[in-house]
Subunit: 304 residues, 2 copies
DNA sequence: TAAAAATACTCCATAGGTATTTTAT
DNA sequence: ATAAAATACCTATGGAGTATTTTTA
């Protein structure tokens, strides 16, 4: 024979009211079966829970001590219904989100702040990864969503996508270059095409093909070919190399939040390419926490 | 409709085996009602727990996350049976034990050490109280047992009693008295009756009548009347007064463990009265933890 | 004598059983 | 062809109801 929840609820009701009649009423049943239920519970336990004289009911010492254990146990089970509801609606659960290093400086903090304010019970797992790694992780189901640099057209059809941020590209240049007049800076903007001859540090094409293409396309459109001095997969690394004077780089404008001695961020005069960062996820992934994340992401100002 | 334990156990079994047939076997039932049970559970929750193709069963994401909450909740309820058993047998629970201050120096530490080694889950509530206070607390049910100084014959009949320790009385005297030769000490023992003329510090009769009578009886048997300089209810206080040179005191031998500068404990030559400390409890109190305590107490060496 | 729990019985809801069908491999 | 889950239907246990008795304050 096994203790059932019903009996425990019966016990709690009687313990609370110390009156079989009223307890039964509270439970929506009549008194006799409640007496039966308690008696059978006492038999199972091998000890009396209540001392009943015909005029009054009191807990035995054993009953009082057991009560202290029963209440939390029953509440634990009762809570399962709420837990299920919160899991279903995305109020609780887990979400694994990858992001490219460039999202670190504006997009990710804003998104995470909003999301975890709205869903504090969700365990948000954040992993930094390049766009190509993210695409693999998404299709293999290792992450639920990714903040990456791509365009809708270049994504596999199993993924859905929403743009989050459009930002211009700015030049990250060694401070020395500005001071020795190697660059033509007017009104805080890079002028002309002269700078295009200087050595460039860039993401490898494999890692972020769309970003790579964007930069090369920009040079080509102005009739130039970049002198690629070095490739690096981390934004941090690229900026370090710039700071060391190895070359310049074209980076998303939000990277200005990554201040570094010896590095200046300078907008480019004229038509500049815009870089799009967006959120991608599996169309078939109907995880409630993911839906909530997409919802929140959609409310972010794409120009900020 | 309310979730019942049975369904949760069903869920756990299927989640563990990922096979309705084997899970049913494990549960001692057949497969069809198990399928029904899970289906009804899923309906209650409003979400699928399992993805079943005809050849394989897998948890949904929701199922996996909910499982993490269900298992501890069900285990919590299952543990109630064990808890009840431990409460019934005195393996767990509470015990309120009072003790006189003189028990502090030998009896109580030995008893508590043994008891809590044997019953580590029992919450032992220790309160220091004089014998008369303990008798009141016992009859009013505020404590379950008391270590007190009394004799079986002087206890009310509702209480049961077991002697724990018989020890001689020794004299606690100011060190100065030994040095200035005011006391006749030979072979480390107080000789003769001369010391009986010195001022005495003693427990009030109200607080420990048996101890009080014992001391007075001792003087009377030798044809003396003590000069009572001061009364005090705490052993600590009595020893402080001795240390201050206010007088001497007759105290249980185990009090030698309470070292104090300026105080010397000296045995009395010849026939000395023995003091009995024992455990008292209500005959009608059938608290399992109390029975265990009486059991342990009986194994203590009464001469130690 | 009245309030409240226990006892005696009756009933039906449902947990679980049996037989069968469906479906994916 | 077969293993495994779902469906359909049946059975019976036991949880809950009604009527009554017992008890003690």
């Amino acid at each position: 024979m096994m203790i059932e929840l019903r009996q425990l609820r019966h016990f709690l009701a009687v313990a609370d009211t110390l009156h079989f009649g009223r307890a039964a009423e509270q439970l929506g049943m009549t008194q006799p079966p409640l007496s039966q239920s308690i008696i059978s519970l006492e038999k199972m336990l091998g000890a009396a829970l209540f001392l009943r004289s015909k005029r009054s009911v009191a807990l035995t010492t054993f009953g009082r001590q057991w009560l202290d254990h029963v209440r939390p146990a029953v509440e634990g089970v009762a809570a399962l219904t709420d837990v299920a509801l919160r899991l279903r609606t995305g109020m609780a659960g887990r979400l694994s989100l990858a992001f490219v290093s460039t999202a670190d400086y504006s997009l990710l903090p804003r998104l995470v702040e909003r999301y975890s304010a709205a869903f504090p019970e969700v365990e948000l797992e954040l992993v930094e990864a390049t766009s190509d790694i993210q695409l693999g992780a998404l299709s293999e189901g290792r992450i639920n969503a990714g903040i990456l640099i791509s365009t809708r057209s270049s994504l596999p059809p199993v993924l859905d996508y929403r743009p989050l941020l459009k930002e211009p590209v700015v030049a990250a240049v060694p401070e020395a270059w500005v001071e020795d007049g190697r660059l033509d800076v007017v009104d805080g903007h890079l002028q002309g095409d002269g700078w295009m001859a200087h050595p460039l540090i860039i993401f490898p094409a494999r890692v972020a093909p769309d970003f790579h293409d964007l930069v090369l396309g920009f040079y080509r459109a102005r009739g130039h070919q970049p002198f690629i001095r070095q490739e690096a997969i981390q934004m941090q690394t690229i900026i370090s190399l710039v700071s060391a004077g190895l070359g310049m780089a074209l980076v998303p404008a939000s990277l200005r939040n990554l201040a570094r001695t010896g590095v200046r961020y300078i907008p480019i005069a004229g038509e500049t390419p815009e870089l799009e960062t967006g959120l991608a996820w599996r169309r078939t992934d109907n995880l409630p926490t993911l839906s909530a994340m997409i919802e929140i992401a959609s409310t972010l100002d794409p120009e900020a």
